[in-house]
Every structure is written in structure tokens, then in C-alpha cells.
């Protein structure tokens, strides 16, 4: 492309024509002129007839002049085609759209241009679809008239990139945005980038094209089109005529590039002699049905691009459920289908479409096995047939009925990539918006792709993004705009996850004070608490890798030091309750086949790891006593730690990317205690201990390496157990809160409990039992004896607890 120095000659003939055409844009003015012209014409004939020929001369002059004006407007001024191409022009007046050109003045600044486009369609489009309103443009555009050249240069570049034949309001708005100094930063705040702005021009042009085509004639082929074809009354009764629905004004689709060759392939297969069928094989959501609609549209609207035998062919979809409802028994059903096929063959203008064809190939509720009827019909080659099957069903058919599979011509339909998915969604925009009375923003479309990629695994693109966008329509923001936030909300509600980054003050506070909140529930283990809190903060601010779980940790240390308690505290404080913790005791998974139990689907075992996470992905997964699991189980967990994904027994992917994975082990507990007793800090022997565990073959290095952090828990000291007593007492008082009774311990009583409950090998667990045996028993006895009344505080001292403990021993 040349890089001309753009000038805009407002004295050019094209600029003058643009200005001249402005009054005619008004529909009332045009109607008035038509009325006057027609009346004058009628008056002219009338005056000739009545011999008032002087009046007639005047009316002739008037009608002729008005005719010139009106036909000039319709023939040239209305569209005012560019007089040069974008690539060769150096005078912008030759490529500007008429509406823009008519309103330009000399020495305009970018702000003036922003004001000119403010009330034009392009500006409305960017305001609604991207959230870039006219105020934004006018506030940030330069007020320097020398900067206008840069805007025009950018407009030429944008027009070139988007294959536009002229600079219209959409192109100019895009250019104005892209020439704002530091525009990348402003766009980033709106979750956009320059490529989105340029792509917006294509989207706008496409929507305009769809609107124009929608206004075009709707009957293709004329009134005699179907006269030479036969009647198919039964088929028309039981089937759905896709062609008719398109003719009646269905939404127009443009096939994406990767689908053009697929459509050509289907056309070729249907037109060839022999087995005239096409079997579309692809994952659910890949767009097989849409492809058939696009084909039907092509046969109807572009007859010259298809072989003559396929021109104006009607594509009629058969629905298995509807067929079954129309037949009383199996015999009648087969008879009905044969009759339908016979009608289709003799009508000569019918292509039968079997969507979800597995329903016609398998016996079951709502499905029928008609393969024995289909096979001879396909072999005969008289019937034109399109079949849609998902990949799994095709493999099943190839295995169970190879004869039928061989007579079907397979056409593989692959999922679309990001750009093509966005294009398909843009095509569907009007349909979705009409259905839900909303406006879809560009950010919502991009977010739908991103989140669908992460959370919807049972479908392929573009279907998975459309599904999420459909759900997001239920969460519009102000003025019915569906934004990226709407999509996030829909994903959170649909998949029970948190996808929005921490935004509320409450959540930010919680994240910043996570350590304190956790320490309200557990004593010490500061380093472990900090590392886990850091992982959550990274995830909730969007810094973490979203292709992995939120965090993966291996907790090593003696029993009773808070490994499980930290997991529970995390589930409680951040994930919304202890029921958000999925606990799997891996000592129960010590056999090679136990992997199956982890992968069982919800239908067979609702408490398997996969079933629980499929139901509740936003969880803390606690894998207890991991060293006792069978190596096969550990191998399975490698993938989970690495990619955050497992496939369940039905091969359905289960995402762990919204979970924190915590594995615990008592391995190395003795070594930790020995190091601590020598007065060493955890950090000093951490690496050596891990090496020791690897050398002792307790853990394999590749397994250890998969964790984000390996965290050592140190044994609790007596002083820390004093604080654990306080926590345990807080728990008891919480239980008694309903009776308005408070229990307190003297310092001596606490010291006694710690003394009795301290066992360096077992951590805080013996202490809990001692508290149960002493404090809880005393309180229970006093309650039964009526020795405590609501509102009272019960203070227990050491001798009293000692007596209770002595009694029990």
C-alpha cells in the first residue's frame, strides 16, 4: 500500500455532490418531492386532455425537474461511490463516505472530527459494543489541527486492513481511538486492545450487510420454482423445512473461512452420482447444524454457485421424537420412514437432514434403530441425505455397523479457533439480542470464549462460547448491556466457581488479612499459612497461571500439628465453609485398581474425587496420608498437579483449576522433630529433608517436583499448646452460646491441661482428648445438676479439673 500524505479537497466535485445530497436524506422531503412530481405528471396529462396546455407546460417542467433531482439522488448521490480506491488515493474526498464528507469543514481538529461522527452509526456502534462513547472520544482526542493528518493516515490504514472501500464513520471512529496518545492504556482499562478496535470495523460492516440483505427479497427462484418438483405432503408434515425458515427471514450467516471448503465438500458429495450423502462428524457444539443451515442458505440464495441439480433444493430436518410420536408401533414407524424417503426421492428437490443421527441408529427412549432401512436407501443413491453425528457416535457406529458406516461419506467438522468463533458469535449477535432484549459487548464475547475454554469441556467451539453467552444474557448490567462481568457472573453461577478478580472491599480485606483470619483458628505454622495465603492472593488477582490449580502443596510434619486444620481453616475462611473441603484418605487407595475409585462418575459414586469436584470445583482438596497411596494412584495425581485436569471414568474432563490441592504426609516427622530439638529452624533443613525422603524412596522426585511448595510443619511447643487450649475453649463456648453460658479456665487449669495433654509425637490431638475428658465433662455435669443458669460464667480451676481427670483414670 502507498503511504500518501492525505489531503482532503473539500472543493472537489465529489465533496460538492455530498453536500448537495444532504437534504434528500430526509425521507419526508423525498416523499414530498415524489408526491409533487407524480401530481405534476398527472396534472400534465390532465391539462393536455382538457386543452389547458399552458398549465400543462408548467407542470411538465416541474415534474421533469423533480424527476432529475430524485433519480440523481437514487442513482448517484445516495451512495456516492468512492471515485478512487483506498490504496491509490491521496485525496480523502474521493474515498470518504458521503455522510462524513458532507459535514467536513476546513482546518478541523481531531476533536472536531469526533463531534462530526458523534451522531453517526459508527459512533453508536463503538459506544454500544465497546463502551467507547462519544464523550470518551471528544475528551481524549487532540485539539491540535496538525494532528488531524495522523487521524486521516490511520483511517486509511484501518480501511486498508478491513478491506473497506471507503472511510465511513466506523473507520473514522477507529482511527480517532487509535491516534489518541497512550490509547493502549485507555483501551486496557476497558479490557480492549488495538486489534479489537480494528476488528470492530469488520463487525460493524457485517451487521450492516446483514441488515441490508434481510431487507432484500425473500422469495428465491420465483413462483414457478417448485412446479416441476413433486409433492411431499407427509414429509412436510413430519419434518422441519430449514429452507422455508431461511426464506421466511432467518438470520443470515457468513461461512467462516475454515467452513467454506467443508460446504464445497458437502455440495460435491450431494451432487455426485452414487451415494449422495454427507455425514458430518464432529464434537457437540462444533456447528454441524449451523453448517447445514448455511448450506441451505447457499442453495437458496446463491444458485449459480452450486451444480444445477442442487439449485433451490429444500433441506428438511427429521426429528426422531416427532417421528415416533407420529407412528403407533415399530412397523408403522418403518412404514412411515419408507414413505417419507419415497416422497423425498420422487419430489426430486429434497435433501433430508438427520440431526443427532444417533437417535435414528440406536434403540432407546426417544430413539429408534433404523439402520436396516437406511442402508439400502443409501446404497441406492437416489436419496440425498445429510447426517450429523458426534465423533464418539461415529466411532461406535463404525464398530457396531461397519456396513452402514462404509456407505456414509464422512465429512469431519473441526472446532473453530478464537477468530472464527468470534465471527460466528458476531453473526449470532442479532439473534441473541432479539431473544433476550440485550446488547452484547465485544468484551463479553471475548470473555465468553476465555471462560468457556476453561469451564465448558463437554462441547466444542463455537457452541461452548455461545452457551455461556446465552447464560450471560440473564445477567445484564445497566441498560441491558451484557459485559465481561455479566459473563463472569454467569460462569460463577453456572459452574460454582470464582472467576471475577477480587473487587469488593470486603474480599480485598479478607485476602489481605488471610493470615490473621486463619490464625484465629490455628496456632503458629506461620510459614505454611503465609505460603497458602500467597497462592490464593495470586489466583484472585489474576496473576497465577490459570491452566493449573490455584495452588498445590505438600504438607509434611508430625501428626496433630495443624496440617488438616490449616486445610479446614482455609475452606472455612475463604472458600465459604468446611463443606468446601473434599477430603480423600489415600491410605484407602493402596491397591492398583483404586484409581478407578478416584475417577468414578457421580452416577456410580457421588463421593469419588472426580464426582465431588465436578459438582463443586471451587474447593480445597485434601489428600491425606499421600505416602500410603499406591504408585498408580500417585501417577494419576501427577496429571492433576500438573494440568489441573483429570478425565473421569466416562472420559469427561474434570477441572481442578479452581481448587487448592493439599497433600499431607507424616513422612519425615521424626527427622523434623530431631532437627527442631537441635534448635534448627525449618528453612535450614527443608531441602535436606526432602532429599532424604526421595533417597529413601518414600516419594519420587517427579512427584515432589509437581508441587508449588513443600511445607514443613514443626511440632508444637508447650507454650503453643497453651494457645491451642484457648482455641479449644473458644470452640466449647461457641457451642454453649445458645444457652448464654461462658466457661473460663484459670491459668493453672490451662497449664494442667497442657501438662496432661502434651505428647511431642502426637501434637495437639491428646490435648483435645484431655479437654474433652475434663472441661466438657464438668460442664455437662453442672448443666444436668442445674448448677449453671443462663448468663452465668463458669470458671474452672486446676484442682477441679484434676479431680475429674483422676476420677476417670
Amino acid at each position: 500500500m502507498n503511504t500518501p500524505v492525505p489531503v482532503c479537497n473539500l472543493d472537489s466535485p465529489r465533496a460538492a455532490k455530498a453536500r448537495f445530497g444532504v437534504p434528500f436524506d430526509s425521507r419526508p422531503i423525498r416523499l414530498f418531492l415524489w408526491f409533487v412530481m407524480m401530481t405534476s405528471l398527472v396534472g400534465w396529462f390532465w391539462s393536455v386532455f382538457l386543452q389547458h396546455q399552458m398549465v400543462g407546460h408548467l407542470l411538465f417542467g416541474l415534474s421533469g425537474t423533480l424527476a432529475v433531482l430524485l433519480f440523481w439522488y437514487y442513482g448517484e448521490l445516495k451512495e456516492l461511490a468512492p471515485s478512487q480506491t483506498i490504496d491509490e488515493t491521496h485525496d480523502l474526498s474521493s474515498v470518504l463516505s458521503r455522510r462524513l464528507l458532507a459535514r467536513l469543514k476546513k482546518d478541523m481538529t481531531p476533536v472536531d472530527l469526533a463531534k462530526v461522527v458523534a451522531d453517526q452509526q459508527g459512533a453508536y456502534f463503538y459506544g454500544a459494543r465497546f463502551g467507547i462513547g462519544k464523550e470518551f472520544l471528544q475528551e481524549l482526542s487532540s485539539k491540535d489541527k496538525d494532528a488531524t493528518i495522523a487521524v486521516w493516515q490511520e483511517a486509511l490504514v484501518v480501511a486498508h486492513k478491513t478491506n473497506s472501500d471507503r472511510i465511513d464513520s466506523a473507520v473514522l471512529v477507529a482511527a480517532l481511538i487509535l491516534t489518541i496518545p497512550d490509547h493502549d492504556n485507555y483501551l486496557a482499562q476497558l479490557e480492549l486492545d488495538s486489534s479489537d478496535i480494528i476488528a470492530g470495523v469488520g463487525w460493524r460492516h457485517h451487521m450492516r450487510m446483514m441488515r441490508d440483505r434481510h431487507r432484500e427479497k425473500r422469495h428465491y427462484g420465483g413462483i414457478g420454482r417448485d412446479l416441476s418438483f413433486g409433492w411431499a405432503p407427509v414429509l412436510n408434515h413430519v419434518g422441519f423445512n430449514i429452507t422455508n425458515s431461511i426464506q421466511a427471514g432467518g438470520i443470515l450467516r457468513r461461512p467462516v473461512d475454515s467452513r467454506l471448503s467443508t460446504i464445497d465438500q458437502i455440495v460435491h458429495l450431494l451432487a455426485q452420482p452414487g451415494r449422495r450423502n454427507a455425514t458430518l462428524v464432529g464434537e457437540s457444539g462444533v456447528g454441524k447444524t449451523t453448517l447445514v443451515y448455511t448450506l441451505a442458505q447457499k442453495l437458496l440464495q446463491e444458485p449459480k454457485t452450486v451444480p444445477s441439480e442442487l439449485r433451490y433444493q429444500q433441506v428438511i430436518e427429521l426429528d426422531a421424537g416427532h417421528l415416533i410420536a407420529n407412528a403407533k408401533g415399530r412397523g408403522q414407524l418403518e412404514e412411515l420412514l419408507l414413505h417419507i424417503f419415497n416422497e423425498a426421492v420422487h419430489a426430486k428437490n429434497v435433501i433430508i437432514f438427520l440431526d443427532e443421527a444417533q437417535l435414528f441408529l440406536r434403540e432407546g427412549t426417544g430413539s429408534i434403530d433404523l439402520s436396516s432401512i437406511l442402508l439400502p436407501v443409501l446404497e441406492g443413491g437416489a436419496l440425498k441425505l445429510i447426517v450429523a453425528l458426534d465423533s464418539q457416535e461415529w466411532l461406535r457406529l463404525a464398530q457396531t455397523n461397519p456396513g452402514l458406516a462404509q456407505s456414509l461419506n464422512r465429512v469431519v467438522v473441526n472446532p473453530l479457533d478464537f477468530e472464527e468463533t468470534v465471527q460466528v458469535i458476531e453473526d449470532e449477535t442479532l439473534l441473541i439480542e432479539g431473544k433476550h432484549q440485550i446488547v452484547l459487548m465485544n468484551q463479553a464475547i471475548k470473555e465468553a470464549y476465555k471462560l468457556a475454554e476453561r469451564y465448558i469441556h463437554e462441547q466444542a467451539f463455537p457452541g461452548r462460547a455461545l452457551k455461556l453467552l446465552d447464560a450471560a444474557a440473564g445477567f445484564p448490567e445497566q441498560k441491558h448491556f451484557v459485559t465481561a462481568r455479566s459473563v463472569q457472573e454467569a460462569a460463577e453461577k453456572s459452574f460454582d466457581v470464582k472467576v471475577q478478580t477480587a473487587s469488593s472491599v470486603e474480599e480485598k480485606d479478607k485476602l489481605l488479612n488471610l493470615e490473621n483470619l486463619i490464625h484465629e483458628r490455628m496456632i503458629n505454622q506461620t510459614r505454611a499459612v503465609k505460603l497458602v495465603s500467597d497462592a490464593l492472593r495470586r489466583s484472585r488477582t489474576g496473576v497465577a497461571n490459570d491452566k493449573k490449580p490455584i495452588g498445590t502443596f505438600l504438607f509434611l510434619g508430625p501428626t496433630g500439628v495443624g496440617k488438616t486444620e490449616l486445610s479446614k481453616a482455609l475452606a472455612d475462611v475463604y472458600f465459604g465453609g468446611q463443606d468446601r473441603m473434599v477430603r480423600i484418605d489415600l491410605n484407602e487407595f493402596s491397591h492398583p485398581d483404586d484409581t478407578n475409585r478416584l475417577l468414578a462418575t457421580g452416577a456410580t459414586d457421588p463421593y469419588s474425587l472426580c464426582a465431588q469436584i465436578a459438582k463443586q470445583p471451587f474447593s480445597v482438596v485434601l489428600l491425606d496420608e499421600i505416602e500410603k497411596a499406591h504408585p498408580n494412584v500417585l501417577n494419576l495425581l501427577l496429571q492433576l498437579l500438573d494440568e489441573g485436569m483429570l478425565r473421569d471414568a466416562q472420559n469427561k474432563p474434570i477441572s481442578f483449576r479452581d481448587s487448592i490441592i493439599i497433600a499431607t504426609s507424616n513422612a519425615g516427622a521424626e527427622q523434623i522433630r530431631a532437627h527442631i530439638e537441635k534448635g534448627q529452624q525449618l528453612e535450614q533443613f527443608e531441602e535436606a529433608l526432602v532429599d532424604e525422603l526421595i533417597n529413601a524412596n518414600i516419594f519420587r522426585p517427579e512427584f515432589i517436583n509437581r508441587f508449588d511448595e513443600i511445607i514443613l510443619f514443626r511440632p508444637l511447643t508447650k507454650l503453643e499448646l497453651m494457645q491451642v487450649v484457648d482455641l479449644l475453649m473458644a470452640g466449647i463456648n461457641k457451642g454453649l452460646a445458645g444457652r448464654k453460658i461462658t466457661v473460663k479456665l484459670t491459668d493453672d487449669a490451662k497449664a494442667l491441661l497442657v501438662d496432661k495433654g502434651y505428647d511431642p509425637r502426637l501434637g495437639a490431638r491428646p490435648l483435645r482428648r484431655v479437654v474433652q475428658r475434663s472441661v466438657e465433662n464438668v460442664v455437662a455435669q453442672r448443666l444436668l445438676a442445674g448448677g449453671i443458669t443462663p448468663g452465668q460464667t463458669l470458671q474452672l480451676d486446676a484442682p477441679e479439673l484434676q479431680t475429674t481427670l483422676d476420677d476417670r483414670s
Binding site: 396546455q53 411538465f60 417542467g61 421533469g64 433519480f71 413433486g230
Partner: protein, 118 residues
């Protein structure tokens, strides 16, 4: 003026003659009907094989169907041709008058000055 007697006149020919004839052809499916003029009309069955009786019956059905088809198609083709002729004649008149339109006022003034029709 340049547009009126250049691209404008071509536009007038295109809109008033070519597109209107195309519209008639498409609306009345004239090309398609001529191509299938002798085809049977809206057949629902096309029995093949069977006894002589059945074959004769099918043959007669077919012949009748073709005659009905010829009549129906002939009628539509005729209507389409008439519509096309009307469109063509009016279009030619429109295109012929096209160059005179810019001179409507001078012509009317001239006629008035000359006192034509007084």
C-alpha cells in the same frame, strides 16, 4: 450533467430494463419452467415395475400429469412474458425520455413562449 448522460443513463437502462426483465424472469421462473416444460406436474408417486395394468396406469398418470404440467407452466410463462413485455416497453420509454428530463424547464418555457396549445 456528466453523470446524467453517462453513468446515470446506464443506471437507468440497468434499473428500468435489465433489472425489471430479470425480476420478471425470476418471479415467474421462466427459464426453469421452459427447461422443465414437459415434466410431470407435482407427482406424488412414480411406480416402477409391477403388472402390465399397473404399468399402463402409471404411464397414463404420467401422461396426464405432463399435460397438466404443460398447461400450468404455459400459463405462468405466458403471464411472465406479458409482464416482461410491459416492463420492457415502459423501460424503453423511460430510458428514451431520460435525456430530455434536464431540459424539462427550458422545453416547457419554450412551449409557453411559442404559445403552443394556446
Amino acid at each position: 450533467m456528466r453523470w446524467w448522460y453517462g453513468a446515470g443513463w446506464q443506471w437507468a437502462v440497468q434499473r428500468a430494463i435489465v433489472e425489471r426483465l430479470q425480476w420478471c424472469n425470476e418471479t415467474f421462473s421462466i427459464t426453469a419452467l421452459i427447461r422443465t416444460f414437459f415434466s410431470p406436474f407435482k407427482q406424488t408417486d412414480n411406480t416402477q415395475g409391477g403388472s402390465v395394468d399397473v404399468r399402463i396406469h402409471a404411464f397414463l398418470d404420467n401422461v396426464v400429469s405432463r399435460f397438466v404440467g404443460m398447461f400450468a407452466r404455459g400459463f405462468i410463462i405466458f403471464t411472465g412474458v406479458v409482464a416482461g413485455l410491459v416492463a420492457f416497453i415502459s423501460g424503453v420509454a423511460f430510458v428514451a425520455l431520460w435525456p430530455l428530463a434536464p431540459f424539462a424547464i427550458p422545453i416547457s418555457l419554450g412551449l409557453m413562449v411559442l404559445g403552443v396549445g394556446k
